[in-house]
């Protein structure tokens, strides 16, 4: 059964974007912003509202790297692995992060749903290489150590909030 809360929030997103088939990507983006992923029930419901088949929406959701069908963490860390960042050693940062967060192979999000680690092909900030973003805040000229430091800061902040 469809969760009433999901139905209501999808309805309000559709209302703000307009119930047009051409708005499907913006609507999916909004759903992902709200839930940090795309819940299956939300997509099935969206399919009935926009008269687009579920399979097509699933096709869109699996085509774009941005969309996720699994819940993502509160902090999404995107490590740039474009050419400039790569040669300035972005992979050691990635490895340090994954080790610090104890992520197993194929796992990108921590079990407590706090952090998600992803690589991107270029953030367009090669002058700051190696660069990463955490929830759209840019961190330039990073090293494995400085990254772990930022990570610890975020953990602290999060502890305070709770």
């Amino acid at each position: 059964m469809l969760d009433l809360e999901i139905k209501e929030s999808v309805d309000s997103i559709i209302k703000s974007r307009g119930a047009e088939q051409s708005s499907v990507i913006s609507i999916l983006q909004d759903i992902q912003t709200q839930y940090r992923y795309l819940p299956e029930e939300a997509l099935d419901y969206l399919s009935t509202q926009l008269d687009i088949s579920s399979s097509k929406i699933y096709g869109i959701a699996t085509f774009y790297e941005f969309f996720s069908l699994e819940p993502k963490g509160k902090y999404i860390i995107k490590i740039c692995d474009g050419t400039a960042c790569h040669v300035r050693k972005s992979i050691p940062i990635l490895n340090a992060l994954r080790k610090e967060l104890d992520l197993k192979e194929g796992q990108n999000t921590t079990d407590d749903l706090l952090f998600t680690v992803e690589t991107v092909s270029c953030l367009g900030a090669c002058g700051l290489a190696p660069v990463l973003t955490i929830n759209d805040k840019v961190y330039g000229s990073m090293t494995p150590d400085s990254t772990v430091e930022v990570l610890n800061q975020l953990r602290e902040e999060n502890k305070d909030e709770n």
């Binding site: 399979s55 096709g59 085509f63």
Partner: protein, 568 residues
Amino acid sequence: MKTMIIDNRKVEFDKEKNVLEVVRKAGIDLPTFCYYSELSIYGACRMCIVEDDRGKIFTSCSTIPRDGMKIYTQTPKLRKYRKVILELLLANHDRDCTSCNITGRCDLQKLSRRFGIDNIRFGEMKEKLPIDDSSHAIVRNPNKCIHCGDCVRVCEEVQGVGALSFTHRGSNLKVSPAFDRNITDVNCVDCGQCRTACPTGAITVKDNRDQFWEAVQNKDKRVVAQIAPAVRVALGERFGLPPGEVTIGKIVSALKMVGVDEVYDTAFAADMTVVEESNEFVERLSNGENLPLFTSCCPGWVKFAENKYPQLMENISSCKSPQQMFGAVVKEYYKEEDNKNNTETIMVSVMPCTAKKAEAAREEFEVNGIRDVDIVITTQELARIIKEAGIVFEELEDESFDMPFGMASGSGVIFGATGGVSEAVVTRLLREKPNHTTKDVIFKSVRGMEDVKEAIFNLDDREVKVAIVHGLKDADELVKKVLSGEKSYDFVEVMACKGGCVAGGGQPAPININMRKERAKGLYKIDRTSFIKSSENNPLVNQIFDELLKDKKELIHVHKKNLQKVES
């Protein structure tokens, strides 16, 4: 008239949509996997490439023909490219041809032979994906998929269902239902049109031949077969006969030869449906309830409505489809005798349709533990049964149906073409009117292959509006208009497949518009030459209603409250 030069020959063209059509008109069979004239152009398979006089290579299917164009269809470059394309397709393709359901009819196999691919340089790298055989109607083997997208486009563009789509990206690209669910867990309606379009064995009809053989070879079982109208005008194609050629006599004798005890005509049950559904219609017209009445003979349509328009369930006729009616009647007919002698009657139906397999398996089609229909085989499975038995079909002597359920009116037979159900119902409703009135309605508006047809006639001073639609996408649009009040009808006939049952998912494929027309013509030809034109004049149908079904009408009705909606 415009002209272009194809392989140094001057070719005239006029309204052809693309270069490929012009080339084919010029008598050159350019290979394709993803091109169907009735679907949108996809340009994915790259087999139809041609070269122009400047050495540029392009796909002919997606290029508009221009006056004075100069192209070549056979050059060293093209030959090399086509071979590489095939090799790459084969690199990712399951190569178990001998055990493949469609071996011998596979386009990939045919083109590989044609282009002489006798060595595939690339090893099989791709991880094997699971086969989805959850459905009663079709089996999906993604390992045989070549990503031509034919199934995706048929399902979306013709059927408006969209059960399958391209999902994931790059080398992980595949054709799958939403969320990689099983096909039974999405909005698939079992129509099987995807399999008629599939050039390989990636989507095939669920094979029930083993159950069939088991039944006919068991001497304790009485095997009773019913043959749907559309089967008789298509089966011959598998034996080299043209579409529309009526082979019913040979089909009956073939079934007898393989061990079926009694062979009957589903058109007999179609006659019953006409009588029963017309009564229902007249009743609804007089009390004004639940109009328009939608037909219930097509299980693809019924399932589509359940999925998308559950609010229409009361409008769909409560009559069982002819297949299920037939099963219920035959089981009732033999009930006493079977109980007395401790025997069992097995109802086998031969259908042009994959959705009929799913229909027969539905929960509600069982009375006291006895299923209406036990085994459903499609036209193409019957062709294989005949071949397996070594019967030389072409040389068979004709045999006639058995009695009492082997006699049908012309009205019952034309059920297999779009408009047939409406024609039969109109004929019955107007039975007291002069013949030319009926003929006028029918020939002006009911027959033909238009997407939506409308017929209006007067019955007891009331204007009756009938709509006929085939192909679920068009049906969907019509239903939307009915629900919004834009259109108002009293009776709506829906056939899930374009052209009706003659182009069903279990028929020999591929199916194009001409084949649909020829097969429909075959049915109308039977109608013209039948002794009984109208369903209510079938004396045996009346006898069944008066005797066997006296006080037992519920046997041929289905109660919609039992129908379950599939979560899509």
